[in-house]
């Protein structure tokens, strides 16, 4: 009986690994999507390109705060995963809820910033520069919003999952996605905001 149980686990393990690798490949293709948007942004923001400058509307301190919200959210998600491997369900849910709130604050600030920019006259339709800015940062924001919905679903489904392996696999997917979004944000704030403010 014991060896049979091990065999089932082994089988689980192998198919799970293939599934997680598939998800990893999805994330790699998402990288290419963001790469194309970055290339577009860089080309349309070549020195001397027409249109209003982002610099005049930008508040870097707000971007810094956004960056820390996302970084903290990433860290609390890692703590959730840590607790999952120690099978403390309530703490997993607690850390996930904190990640959700931090990620939510990030999105709230970003939407407020977009509204502020649009009101001041830096709308997405005024120039190629502005379009590429809103497309790149907006796509990232959309991904984060999807991640937030996913975290909520995860908090709700965790108590219902009887199989600990299923729970771990699903948390691994979400963890890869959430960490990946923070990594993309490093380049967004460096290339878009810091270069834009120089």
């Amino acid at each position: 009986m014991h060896s049979e149980a091990i065999a089932v686990h082994e089988h689980h393990h192998e198919t799970d690994s293939v599934d997680v690798f598939g998800f990893w490949l999805y994330i790699m293709t998402d990288c290419i999507l963001f790469g194309c948007l970055f290339a577009t942004f860089l080309v349309l923001n070549f020195p001397g390109s027409p249109g209003p400058e982002l610099k005049t509307y930008l508040k870097l301190s707000d971007v810094l705060l956004e960056t820390f919200f996302l970084l903290a959210s990433n860290f609390t998600f890692c703590l959730a995963i840590l607790n999952l491997y120690q099978t403390k369900l309530f703490r997993v849910q607690l850390w996930l809820a904190i990640s959700f709130l931090l990620g939510g604050s990030f999105i709230f600030m970003e939407v407020t910033e977009f509204a502020h920019l649009a009101n001041e006259g830096f709308r997405w339709d005024v120039s190629g520069k502005a379009s590429s800015f809103f497309t790149l940062v907006g796509t990232h924001g959309l991904h984060v919003s999807c991640g937030l919905v996913w975290i909520l679903l995860m908090i709700m489904q965790l108590p219902l999952l009887k199989d600990v392996y299923v729970a771990r696999r699903r948390m691994t997917y979400l963890g890869l996605f959430w960490n990946f979004l923070d990594i993309v944000w490093i380049f967004v704030f460096t290339i878009v905001y810091l270069m834009g403010a120089m």
């Binding site: 194309c36 810094l64 392996y165 990594i183 704030f189």
Partner: protein
């Protein structure tokens, strides 16, 4: 021992340790503050700022990949993950550098 390994699949994402996460958080915070700080104080030349913020971004990328994504080459799965991220890097490099190169040539020829 064998059973122990089978009951803790890590999908090539490495062992979960609190210390590594805290180390990652501190490193990323410092690098972020350096990058924002050097732009905000506005005391340095364009090239100095440029070098510092891009170096900070690259180091932070590595820190996040190692500490949070826990990418490693310890297992077979981990090696495949690293190979696919390297391949993606090659594609990204050709897309971004290629676009900039072509567009700056076009820009030059139209001047």
């Amino acid at each position: 021992m064998h059973h122990h390994q089978a009951s803790h699949p890590d999908y090539g994402t490495g062992k979960k340790k609190l210390g590594i996460y805290i180390f990652g958080l501190i490193c990323c915070s410092i690098l972020t503050l350096i990058a924002f700080g050097i732009v905000m104080v506005n005391q340095f030349s364009r090239w100095e700022v440029f070098t510092v913020i891009y170096s900070a971004a690259c180091i932070q990328f590595l820190v996040q990949v190692i500490c949070f994504l826990r990418l490693n080459t310890q297992t077979e799965q981990g090696k495949i993950n690293v190979m696919s991220i390297l391949f993606t890097g090659v594609i990204l490099l050709s897309i971004i550098v290629g676009s900039l190169w072509i567009m700056s040539n076009v820009n030059y020829n139209l001047m």
